[in-house]
Amino acid sequence: MEKVFLTVIGKNEAGVVAAVSQTLLAYKISIADITQKILDDKFVLFMILECRADLNIPNLQKHLEQSTRQFRLKFMIAHEELFNSMHRI
């Protein structure tokens, strides 16, 4: 299993977390960690996902965008190693 970081930015509305989790469930992805915050009036949801190494990230991103269309969220998904490289020596 590998770790992938999912960040969601948008407006806080009822059902946002549920809608995101539903799509992750369809991919059989488990959520290892979840944090949410309000930053500069923006809702920021951050998840660490545990998934298979062959996860198709662009596909997942597309599905997340489609299944949460009504909330107009912005998704950014990247493998854990990117953050390790940038922020840890």
Binding site: M76, I77, A78, H79, H87
Partner: protein, 454 residues
């Protein structure tokens, strides 16, 4: 491993707000095994070798780009100097090999192939002469081939005759592509102290000291540095400015190193170098000139510009050096006028002149880059301009390069439009005084004292 939310958001803003990308993944390929009995033979072997070794380049790079959500702007190939493959063959060899390389590039989906090149700082062989002769035809009839020449080194001196020969071919290439504002000339670089592992075009070639296949990565990110400075106090002392640039450069280079490692592993080729360069694009916010203005010059080209660029270039290199296992290429800051929105503006408004650009050559990563001049520039003056920039490289023991575009039918006040990443360039005036007698003396400039380090 746990991360602060601010760290995650910083990484994401690099890409989504500040135009950070991997500017290029460049596969260096030795073509020395492609010798043949006829030039047709050589061309066929070159095509076969490139399509074989480069087959996985584009899909592999795309996959890694998706995994890390970092865009990769270009996928390129650098080959051994093609002049070496022309040795022993007739005058048609360069064109035949050029067409084979161009066909292979299209088949592979790579953006550019560099290496239609020759190293001629000490002299020119018959084959090198044939290659230089073919330039106008090759660059007007191929799409993806780039050409470069080394005409001076600190250890060997400067070959003025070679520069004069190339200046003539640059003028002919401009004429051959006059309908497109002489875009053919955007694919010719004349170097002093050319490096063997440069991943950036148009000057990339696969050096003779490298192995069969090597992967290099060039990073970019002027927008990131600009944002860092924009978020800093306006009166922050320069040493602290340098510190902040170093930190941002370190993070960007770590991403480059990650890409290099993954590409090398997935392709099964040797890990090459990271070129830590700030490479601008015409996109608003992705400009090196904007950083210089953020550091504190009113307009790029104003007094203080060379100082600001030296600080920037040095801090970028210092920050990146620790982040990469091997740094190489042209690392520093590029200042291609037509490809940088802030440079275009400064040149159009008369703030940035050819003479100031020449002084910036001493502290940037290359030199007079993507500069448009009037198409009726005298041949000897063009030679003089190129020789001046190469002399700065030779004497100061650094790489300098010239990519100059004499645009037929245009004069100062006009704009040359190249499109895409090449952008557009205002035509810069050139001194009305010439250097005919100097150039017509011909010959070599001997090795400068700086070159004697035995």
């Amino acid at each position: 491993m746990t991360f602060q939310l601010s760290e995650i958001l910083e990484s994401l803003s690099f890409v989504s707000l500040d135009h950070f990308d991997i500017r290029t993944v460049t596969l260096g390929v030795s073509l020395r095994e492609c010798q043949g009995v006829s030039d047709g033979d050589v061309a066929a072997r070159v095509y076969e070798r490139l399509t074989k070794v480069g087959g996985n380049l584009v899909p592999t790079v795309n996959k890694i780009s998706e995994r890390y959500n970092i865009p990769v702007a270009n996928r390129r190939i650098a080959v051994s100097p093609v002049s070496m493959l022309c040795e022993g063959h007739g005058p048609h060899a360069p064109m035949k090999i050029a067409r084979a390389i161009d066909r292979a590039a299209k088949a592979l989906g790579v953006d550019y192939v560099g290496g239609f090149s020759a190293l001629i700082e000490r002299g020119i062989t018959r084959a090198e002469n044939a290659l230089i002769d073919s330039l106008p035809e090759v660059l007007s009839r191929t799409e993806r081939l780039c050409s470069s020449f080394n005409v001076a080194t600190t250890r060997s001196g400067l070959n003025l005759d070679a520069i004069h020969l190339l200046a003539g071919k640059i003028l002919q290439t401009a004429e051959a592509t006059r309908d497109l504002d002489a875009i053919g000339c955007s694919k010719i670089v004349v170097f002093a102290n050319a490096v063997e592992d440069n991943p950036f075009m148009a000057g990339a070639f696969h050096g003779v000291s490298l192995g069969d296949e090597v992967v290099h990565v060039g990073i970019s990110g002027p927008g990131v540095i600009r944002q860092v400075l924009e978020n800093s106090p306006q009166d922050l002392p320069l040493d602290e400015v340098a510190e902040r640039i170093k930190k941002a450069s370190f993070k960007m280079t770590r991403v480059g190193e990650l890409f290099l490692r993954e590409c090398s592993r997935a392709l099964g080729y040797t890990k090459g170098i990271i070129d830590i360069s700030l490479a601008p694009t015409p996109e608003p916010g992705d400009s090196v000139a904007n950083i210089l203005e953020e550091i504190g010059v009113e307009k790029t080209g104003a007094p203080g510009t060379t100082t600001a660029l030296a600080l920037l270039s040095d801090a970028v290199k210092k920050g990146g050096t620790m982040a990469a296992s091997r740094v190489g290429g042209l690392s520093g800051a590029f200042i291609p006028v037509s490809e940088d929105e802030g440079m275009i503006r400064a040149a159009s408004e008369g703030a940035l002149t050819l003479e100031k650009l020449e002084s910036l050559t001493c502290v940037c990563s290359v030199g007079l880059d993507m500069i448009a001049v009037p198409g009726d520039i005298p041949h000897t003056s063009l030679t003089g301009l190129i020789a001046d920039a190469c002399t700065l490289g030779m004497v100061n023991n650094k790489t300098t390069g010239v990519r100059i575009i004499p645009v037929p039918g245009k004069s100062p006040g006009d704009i040359a439009v190249f499109g895409g990443l090449f952008g557009e360039a205002p035509i810069l005036p050139v001194s009305k005084y010439g250097c005919e007698r100097l150039v017509n003396r011909g010959g070599f400039i001997p090795t400068p004292m700086q070159g004697f380090r035995n």
